[in-house]
């Protein structure tokens, strides 16, 4: 089974963009309410390092597509698309959960986010790997 590459890309981009905006807004509101007073730099650095590589990758792919439009409609294996979507949703869920459960931790905020890199970092590596592999598919 195959799915149109343009449709698959749009679905992935929509999920990433909406989720990114929601988390971004959450961080902004937390910042306004003074949650990270005195440690905004460290917390924003964590946020950007957790989401920007994947979001940048998707934006880059879209920009490239706009520049060199494919001559014929490309299709990709639906399994690969579902895998990319599953990894993306799981990763975004883990990042959101990490942020939403920070207050339950007895650790200091900075120490907590530093520690969260233990699971966020490797997971992010896998997700970027899957997304890159998916976007490089040039099916018939």
């Amino acid at each position: 089974m195959k799915i149109a590459m343009s449709r698959a890309k749009k679905s992935l981009a929509t999920v990433w963009t909406i989720w990114f905006i929601l988390i971004f807004l959450l961080f902004v509101v937390q910042g306004i309410w003074g949650k990270y007073e005195g440690k905004n730099k460290e917390i924003w650095a964590w946020f950007l390092s957790a989401l920007m590589p994947s979001v940048s990758l998707i934006i880059g792919i879209f920009a490239a597509d706009q520049r060199e439009k494919p001559e014929k409609k490309e299709h990709v294996d639906i399994f690969l698309y579902r895998l990319a979507m599953l990894f993306s949703v799981c990763y975004l869920f883990v990042v959101s959960l990490t942020i939403l459960l920070e207050w339950r931790s007895g650790l200091s905020t900075v120490a907590y986010y530093e520690m969260s890199n233990l699971w966020v970092g490797p997971f992010q590596g896998i997700v970027i790997g899957v997304l890159t592999y998916f976007f490089r598919q040039r099916g018939a």
Partner: protein
């Protein structure tokens, strides 16, 4: 002959004198060790200006008619502190420099509503709230991890101005109050009469950690009344119960 007797008498006198000295030295407590009942056995504590204070009604401490001693008052307060649900297992006694005594509890962490924390109550680091309501979750999600701490002290004295200085209390120093105090009230203080001029003043020393990794701030005046602190920690209820 007379000279010889004189020597013998001198030796006997010296022996008796040294024996008396030896016995008296052995019966004296070693320097720095607590004696049995002396007031000097427990350290002296001059309470700094508290975050808030409240005079406990006399009828809550002693029977309306009849005499009572410091020991009776101490027992009443101690019992109220050690009863469930919010027991204070560690309390310390101090002598007051102007007469009377003080009971000091260990520093505890409390919730925003004033009740003692269930988890992390005795920790000096932030502990998440016990009750998970939508309001507390939202507060925790959007606001800094604030920790609220307090030390409760009871002064039993007849002095009208019982506070020493108005310097802000340092939390680290306040934590030491527990380590330095006596674990029991010495008998000579306990035997003193709780006269008509004596009263019991409850003091709250309140601290707030505005965020994790940040030093505690001494709160003066307190965000809530002492009576409210004592009510939320159920001490007032226990003091009010029938003896």
């Amino acid at each position: 002959m007379a000279k010889k007797n004189l020597w013998i008498l001198a030796i006997i006198a010296l022996t008796i004198l040294s024996s008396v000295l030896m016995v008296s030295c052995l019966s004296m407590p070693p320097k720095g060790m607590p004696g049995e009942n002396g007031r000097e056995d427990i350290p002296t504590f001059c309470p700094p200006q508290p975050s808030s204070s409240y005079e406990i009604e006399r009828r809550m401490l002693i029977p309306e008619a009849g005499q009572a001693s410091f020991g009776d008052v101490s027992k009443r307060i101690t019992r109220a502190l050690k009863e469930p649900p919010f027991q204070y297992p560690e309390i310390r006694y101090y002598a007051l420099p102007y007469g009377g005594f003080a009971i000091v509890t260990r520093i505890e962490q409390f919730n925003v509503d004033g009740t003692p924390k269930e988890t992390g109550r005795w920790s000096v680091e932030y502990a998440p709230p016990d009750k998970l309501t939508l309001s507390t979750i939202l507060q925790c999600l959007f606001k800094a991890k604030k920790g609220y701490f307090r030390i409760i002290a009871f002064l039993i004295t007849d002095v009208i101005k019982p506070f020493c200085g108005d310097e802000k209390v340092d939390m680290e120093k306040a934590i030491d109050w527990l380590g330095k105090g006596g674990i029991r009230l010495p008998q000579n203080i306990a035997d003193q009469e709780f006269g008509p001029s004596h009263y019991c003043l409850a003091l709250i020393y309140e601290f707030e950690k505005p965020g994790d990794d940040e030093p505690a701030i001494y709160i003066m005046p307190s965000s809530r009344s002492t009576a409210d602190h004592l009510t939320k920690s159920k001490i007032m209820e226990k003091l009010g119960e029938e003896r």
